[in-house]
Every structure is written in structure tokens, then in C-alpha cells.
């Protein structure tokens, strides 16, 4: 019997547009783009040039600071463009995909017979090490550092989040192999969290892991919350974190000997006509699934990821590296709502009680801030949606002041920007909390390493 932990604080934002549980097929695009900015903490150095031929699994670039971390191309084809932005920062590497994917052969391996070092080398060589993230700092894991434990979240509670049960359907063997591989990477334990609603047997009955069941509203599915409840991170410790679909991707490497970054992705959001699940590789251009399938006549916001932590993309943007969800919501910049402060409109949603609720189940929210930025005024607002043994407001203030001692004392090592997403949503003062935490973590990392 798994341990049970009930999360009380949090918020399930009732949004329209949950993905229907149907697989609608595979999506491919002529060009595939990999954006290095997805991989936080990495300084990319290119290994390919324009016109080079690559296979799925060939390294496109590597990390300047940790050259052993390379980043695999998800498809085979020809490198057609390397787009750079300000200060020559690489925006994306574009590969013109072959119609039939050719895979780099890494050889099938039995995890049980490999040592920890061999497992690590296999994942690094295949260029999918980025699937493993580390805390503190919420960056791609540093291979040289031994993690105290590895935490895997087996469900996602974010608004409109995809069902991992659905995604992992048929991936059970890969998932278990992934867990076996992870277990070799740490002297500690691999912790897997499931939700009370989890039905997938491979999650429920996973071997080689310690299973904990987390009930309650978002952010119960955030790995940071789970770590805080199971075994908090202390100063000087490192843990690695993954989501269950990413574990299956690692498992696939060992079971099939190839890098196949095909994800099952949920298409969600109030502006999507037909929601559902699609299979596509990381970096796939999305115009084909948005075309004729979204509301017309208003300006829209396309998000790779969920509405709380996702990345804003264009209508012809690509699936970002870590995302298993695409969301389309109204942008809202064409809306002029009169006297919003006095509004009794049933269209407005608030987590607090300053608006009347009309027994309405789901809301169609747009991307407006719905207010101007202010100093932090209301107290106990963040705490209500922050189920960790941390004082979020005080931590945010210490980050703004960049007081390293205070940040350490208040638990900066335990958090990632995503943990503050709900705080940012409910914030009356409309502050960019995730950005503040991100900048704080980056500065701290620079300072400490």
C-alpha cells in the first residue's frame, strides 16, 4: 500500500477546454525546430552546421559548461537553419525532416546488467540527458553530481493538464525500464508520486520505486510539492526530477536502442474546436493542428504547455522540449471591459470571494493581467495556494532583495519557478513571480558554483 498524502492548499482553476480522451493521430511537419532556451542553465555550443545531415539521436549542440550533455535531434534530415537572436544567442536549430525517420543506433541494452556509470553514459551519449532536471536551481541535471534521490511525478494537476494514464498507455514496458535505469543513478531512492485517480498499472504497480499517493488540488502534481512532503531538499543536497512520460522516453532508449522523442500531446484550451491527443515529436511545427481547429476572428494566444507555466508560441510555433500539452486561449488584447472593478459579470473568475459565483462550472479566461502591477499588499494570498513548508511571500521578497543568506534560510533550494505559478495567478498585485524566482535561482547558481 502506497503512502498517502493529502494536499489541502492549492487551487484547481476551472478552465474550459479539457482534452477529450481520444488519440487523433500522428502529426509531423516538414521542419522541426529545437529551441535551446527550453533547456534551462545550458549554454549551447553547436555540433552541426547548416546543410549537415543528421539522424534522430545525432547531437545538434552540447552544453559549453558540461560538454558531456548533448542534445539529440528528434528527427533525421538536413540542418537548414540556425537562427540567432540578440547577442548571437541561438534561438533555434531547424532540421528539414525526412519523410521516414532514420535512427542513430545506440544498441538495445538490458538495464539490469549495466552499472550506474554505464546507464548514465548511455543516456548522455543518446542526447536525452536533458529529460532529467535537478533541484536546486531547476536546471538540466549536472551529470557529475550524485543525486540524493530521484523524484518522478506520475500525474499532472495543472489546469487542463493531460492525463498521464492516457499518455503512458502502451508505454508500460518503457516506463518500467526507465525506472530501473533511474534506480541505478542514485544511491538513494527513486520516488514516484501517483494521484488517487491514477489507473495505469505501470504507475500503480511500478517496481524499483517508492510510491506515494498525493491527493488534492493543483499543485499536488508538482514535483517540488511532492519533494517537500516526502523528503525536503537541504542546503548542499541535489535531487533529480522527472515526469513519468519522460521516464518512458528514457526507457525507450534502452528497450529499442533508438532516440525517439515522440510525445503524446494533449491539445486543450477554450478556443480549440476539437480537443484531443496527438502524437508528435519534440520540435514539430504546430500550424497543421491549429489550422481550422481554433476560434476565428479574435486574437489568440498559443501556449506550448499549460496556461500557468507554458511558453507563449506563435501559431506556427513548435512543441517545446518538456511539454505534453498545447493550449489555445483568447489573447484578450482586443477586449475593453468597462468598470471591471465593479463588475458582477459571471465571466470573471477569482479564486477568492471578491466576485460572486454563479454556480458556473468552467471559465474561458484570456491572457489579460486584469489589473496593474502594484507592491505586495494583500497578505496570506500566496500561502493559500502554496502547499509547502515555506513562506512564499518572504522568500519572494528575499529574492527581490537578492539576500543570499535569507534565500537559503527560507528554502530557495527547494523551489522552482513552476511552484509559484499559482501564486502568480492569484496575485492581486500582478507581479511576475515566476520570473522573479527564475532570475533569483540563476543568480544564486552563478554565485554558488
Amino acid at each position: 500500500m502506497a503512502n498517502r498524502i493529502k494536499i489541502k492548499k492549492g487551487l484547481q482553476i476551472p478552465l474550459l477546454g479539457e482534452a477529450e480522451g481520444t488519440l487523433r493521430g500522428k502529426v509531423t511537419s516538414e521542419y522541426v525546430r529545437i529551441c535551446p532556451e527550453d533547456f534551462h542553465g545550458v549554454t549551447p555550443k553547436l555540433t552541426v552546421k547548416v546543410d549537415d545531415t543528421v539522424k534522430a539521436g545525432t547531437s545538434l549542440f552540447y552544453d559549453k559548461n558540461y560538454p558531456e550533455i548533448s542534445f539529440a535531434s528528434p528527427v533525421s534530415g538536413i540542418v537548414t537553419a540556425i537562427e540567432r537572436g540578440e547577442k548571437r544567442r541561438i534561438l533555434y536549430v531547424e532540421v528539414k525532416a525526412d519523410s521516414a525517420v532514420q535512427y542513430e543506433d545506440f544498441g538495445k541494452k538490458t538495464v539490469a546488467s549495466l552499472s550506474g556509470e554505464e546507464v548514465k553514459k548511455s543516456i548522455l551519449d543518446a542526447g536525452i540527458w536533458f529529460l532529467i532536471k535537478q533541484r536546486p536551481y531547476d536546471v538540466v541535471a549536472v551529470p557529475g553530481k550524485e543525486p540524493r534521490d530521484i523524484f518522478v511525478t506520475g500525474f499532472d494537476t495543472a489546469p487542463l493538464a493531460p492525463s498521464f494514464d492516457f499518455i503512458l498507455n502502451g508505454r508500460e514496458a518503457d516506463l518500467q525500464t526507465g525506472f530501473d535505469a533511474l534506480a541505478k543513478l542514485t544511491p538513494g531512492k527513486v520516488y514516484l508520486s501517483v494521484s488517487p485517480k491514477t489507473t495505469n498499472k505501470a504507475l500503480r504497480e511500478a517496481g524499483n520505486v517508492v510510491i506515494t499517493e498525493f491527493g488534492g488540488p493543483h499543485p499536488a502534481g508538482n514535483v517540488g510539492v511532492q519533494i517537500n512532503h516526502i523528503k525536503p531538499i537541504n542546503r548542499g543536497e541535489t535531487v533529480w526530477t522527472l515526469s513519468a512520460p519522460d521516464v518512458a522516453l528514457i526507457g525507450r532508449l534502452f528497450n529499442e536502442g533508438i532516440v525517439d522523442l515522440t510525445r503524446t500531446v494533449a491539445l486543450t484550451g477554450s478556443e480549440v474546436k476539437q480537443t484531443g491527443y496527438y502524437q508528435m515529436s519534440v520540435g514539430t511545427q504546430l500550424n497543421s493542428i491549429f489550422k481550422d481547429n481554433v476560434t476565428e476572428g479574435i486574437s489568440l494566444r498559443y501556449i506550448s504547455g499549460n496556461p500557468l507555466t507554458g511558453t507563449k508560441i506563435d501559431a506556427d510555433g513548435v512543441l517545446r522540449a518538456y511539454d505534453a500539452q498545447l493550449t489555445v486561449i483568447p489573447e484578450g488584447d482586443d477586449v475593453h471591459e468597462a468598470f471591471g472593478w465593479a463588475s458582477l459579470s459571471p465571466k470573471r473568475y477569482s479564486a477568492g470571494c471578491t466576485y460572486p459565483t454563479y454556480n458556473k462550472k468552467k471559465y474561458r479566461l484570456d491572457a489579460r493581467l486584469l489589473g496593474g502591477p502594484r507592491a505586495i499588499i494583500v497578505s496570506n494570498e500566496y500561502d493559500k495556494v502554496f502547499p509547502m513548508d515555506i513562506y512564499p511571500e518572504q522568500l519572494i521578497k528575499s529574492i527581490i532583495a537578492f539576500n543570499i543568506d535569507k534565500m537559503e534560510q527560507l528554502g530557495i533550494y527547494e523551489v522552482a519557478p513552476e511552484d509559484f505559478a499559482l501564486c502568480e495567478f492569484v496575485d492581486t498585485s500582478k507581479l511576475e513571480l515566476q520570473r522573479i524566482v527564475r532570475v533569483g535561482l540563476d543568480l544564486l547558481r552563478k554565485e554558488m558554483e
Binding site: P159, P232, N234, R235, G236, R301, P307, L308, T309, K312, T327, I329, E331, G332, D333, V335, H336, E337, A338, F339, G340, W341, A342, S343, R348, Y349, S350, G352, C353, T354, Y355, A367, R368, L369, L370, G371, G372, P373, R374, A375, I376, I377, V378, S379, N380, D389, I390, Y391, Q394, Q409, L410, A421, F425, V426, T428, S429, K430, E432, Q434, R435
Partner: protein, 402 residues
């Protein structure tokens, strides 16, 4: 609404960078966002936002203050016509009070918001909404006969020196409305206490002319008991301004001399319901102020030496600014303790101190203002210790695992 939107869009370029009226941008922005929800969309982080913003929060507080304000206005008229011995209708009383209070509200808003707008302009920021609440609180906590120029001077002092020098709304250490009152109290004591200031005896814009009747005394109930010769509470009786006895229901409904906001406990409780139901005010702070008051009164009662020490707890809660302070002043989130555990301690000590000052201070019958200001100063210290417990736990964990 559409025409207005078009007009705003038309004049907007004048206020933007390079426009002739750019120096008035904050003012333009304040009016535009007052009329229309800004259509700026999120640039980083979450893509959706809660509909609650600073404006909504402040509006709820103002809404909660309205009952106390209306009853207070009526009571100004009631006391006035009682003082000059005239029987008039309900509406006449209310209208008299309305006319008496309105200039104070206007002065406090014009002065305070004027400074806020100018400051926002100088700092190139948006105008914060904090003063919307402060501006209505100020007339509610000063005697009705406070001259307008005093309100103007005190408001200006408080907004500049208690708020703007610290960085504006959200950064102030002391409650701005209370600083206004404290400034008045220490600068012009003769206009702020005693038995001449709580009832408006003069006419307002020519309305309600008349001479004060014989036997009139404008002392507040708390003033009466603080100066009584009676040795114990049973020998003492509260009197109204014409010498009539005051019942508990007079005190509850608010038909006693006092500041506009504080008189009606019923209206204050109504405000408390609004604040708690909307989640804007902290019930923890409110409750703990009353608990602190209760504990203090029970202690004082058991060592009673004179009438005020013997006064039962419900009189303490009904009279003076205790309830008003607990509901509307102690709960100011910026100046109160910000941690939940801290709020219990903060509120409790306010209640305790307020009663202590009331009972043991010979010169001044009310203690709420000083108690809250004092605890404002200590709120960060309370938070420090609450948070320190969390820090110690984390540090201990770290050393154990090493």
C-alpha cells in the same frame, strides 16, 4: 461606453512618450484603468490571471465602510438636533449629517489623491489605490467638528511622511489614516478631545440653526467614565448629550456622541461580515483583537479600584473606537503582521494594549489609535519570530542530514 473608449484612444497619444502631456501620463492611466480594465496581456509567467486586482480589493473595503459611514452621518444630524432641541424628520437628520461630513471627505480625498497622483507622476508609476480607503477612513475617525484645514494639513503630512517617503502604498510601516489622526491629536489637542468637539452644534450651510439647549454636554460615554467622580461602576450612569440616560441599544446602534465611523457597532459588524465573506479582511486579526480586549478587561475587572476598571467588557466593545479599529484598522494588511500566526499575536496585543491605555491613562479616554500604531511598529518583529521558527526547522534539518 464605446464613444468614451474611442475618445480615450484618441487622446492617448498625447500622454505617451513624446506626447505633449506625457508629464500627466499616470493621471491619464489612472482614469483609463478606472473606466476600463487594462488590456495588457501577460508577457512572462502565467498566461491567465485571477480577476481580483488592487482596485477590486479597495472597493470591497470601501463597500464595507459604507454602512458605518451612513449611520455615522445620520447620528451627526441626530445629535445636532437633539443639542438644539428640535424635533425633525429622519431624512433631515441624515441630510444635515451628510452635509457636515461631505466637505471632510472631499478635502481628505482631494489632498490625499492629489499628492498620490503627483508622486506617481514623479516616479513614473501607476497610481496606487491605497488612498481610496484611507481617504474615507480619515473623516470617519476624527471629530465631526475638526476644521477642514486641519484635515488637509494632517492628511498631507500623513500621506507624505507616513507613506510616500517609504515608497508608497504597500511599503508604509504605519497605518496612514491613524497617522493622520495621531498628527491631529498631538498638534491640535483642544480640537480633538474634550466634550466640545464630538457633536456639531453649529449650522451646516445654514441648515439646522439654533441655540444649544440648557444642560447640554457633548462628552462621549468613554469621556464621561474617564472623568467620573463615582467610586465604582454601579454608582455611575452613561448620559446622552441632553442628560438622558444611554441604553446599551443606543450604543449598539450608534446614537451616542463620537467620531462618525465608530459610533454604530451594528454597522461596523455589517462591514466585518462583508470583509470576512469576501476574504479581504482577516478574521483572525479581528477575532484576536476582541480576545485580547476580553482578556485585558477580565484582568482589570478582577483588580478593579474605580469605575472604569469595573466597567464590563461589553461596554468596552460597544464604546469608542474599539470595534472600528479591530475591524477596519488592525486588518490593514500592509501594516499588520503578514504571517497567519503573527496575526493572532498582533491582534491579541492590540486588544490588550487598547484596554490598558483606556483604563490606566488619566488624560485620554481612548486607546485604540495608540495601540494599533504601537503594534504597527512591532508587526515586523512578530513576523520575524514566526518566520524564524520555520528557518530554524530548516537549518536543523540540514545539519542533521549532513
Amino acid at each position: 461606453m464605446k464613444a468614451l473608449r474611442k475618445y480615450l484612444d484618441k487622446i492617448k497619444p498625447n500622454f505617451e512618450e513624446g506626447g505633449k502631456l506625457h508629464w500627466l501620463y499616470s493621471t491619464y492611466d489612472a482614469f483609463e484603468t478606472f473606466l476600463f480594465v487594462p488590456n495588457t496581456t501577460s508577457k512572462s509567467g502565467v498566461h491567465i490571471h485571477d480577476a481580483r486586482d488592487s482596485k477590486r480589493t479597495m472597493i470591497i473595503v470601501i463597500l464595507a465602510l459604507i454602512p458605518a459611514l451612513l449611520v455615522g452621518m445620520y447620528n451627526v444630524g441626530l445629535q445636532h438636533y437633539m443639542a438644539i432641541g428640535q424635533e425633525v424628520t429622519f431624512l433631515t437628520r441624515f441630510f444635515y449629517g451628510f452635509l457636515a461630513v461631505l466637505p471632510q471627505i472631499v478635502v481628505s480625498y482631494v489632498v490625499g489623491l492629489g499628492i498620490e497622483f503627483a508622486m506617481a507622476q514623479m516616479k513614473k508609476e501607476e497610481v496606487a489605490e491605497g488612498f481610496l480607503v484611507t481617504g474615507i477612513l480619515i473623516p470617519m475617525i476624527v471629530p465631526v467638528d475638526t476644521p477642514l484645514w486641519m484635515i488637509a494639513v494632517a492628511t498631507a503630512f500623513a500621506v507624505i511622511f507616513a507613506k510616500e517617503v517609504f515608497g508608497g502604498t504597500g511599503y508604509n510601516i504605519f497605518n496612514v489614516a491613524l497617522i493622520t489622526r495621531a498628527f491631529l491629536f498631538f498638534s491640535y489637542p483642544s480640537k480633538m478631545s474634550g466634550d466640545q468637539v464630538w457633536v456639531r452644534t453649529a449650522d451646516t450651510f445654514g441648515m439646522g440653526k439654533g441655540a444649544v439647549i440648557d444642560g447640554y454636554s457633548g462628552a462621549t460615554p468613554l469621556g464621561q467614565i474617564a472623568t467620573t467622580e463615582a467610586g465604582n461602576f454601579s454608582d455611575f450612569a452613561f448620559n446622552g448629550i441632553t442628560g438622558q440616560p444611554l441604553s446599551l441599544s443606543d450604543m449598539f446602534f450608534g446614537f451616542i456622541p463620537g467620531s462618525i465611523g465608530e459610533v454604530s457597532t451594528l454597522a461596523i459588524l455589517l462591514g466585518a461580515v462583508i470583509l470576512i465573506a469576501s476574504g479581504v479582511g482577516s478574521w483572525k486579526t479581528m477575532l484576536s483583537v476582541f480576545i485580547g480586549g476580553l482578556v485585558a478587561v477580565l484582568l482589570v475587572n478582577s483588580f478593579a479600584q474605580n469605575a472604569i476598571m469595573e466597567m464590563p467588557v461589553y461596554y468596552h466593545f460597544l464604546l469608542g473606537g474599539f470595534a472600528f479599529g479591530a475591524i477596519f484598522m488592525a486588518t490593514d494588511p500592509v501594516t499588520s503582521a503578514r504571517t497567519e500566526r503573527g496575526k493572532w499575536i498582533y491582534g491579541f496585543l492590540i486588544g490588550l494594549l487598547a484596554i490598558t491605555i483606556r483604563v490606566f491613562n488619566p488624560g485620554y479616554p481612548e486607546g485604540m489609535m495608540l495601540a494599533i500604531l504601537f503594534m504597527n511598529a512591532f508587526a515586523p518583529l512578530i513576523d520575524f519570530y514566526v518566520i524564524d521558527a520555520n528557518i530554524k526547522r530548516r537549518m536543523k534539518r540540514a545539519t542533521v542530514t549532513k
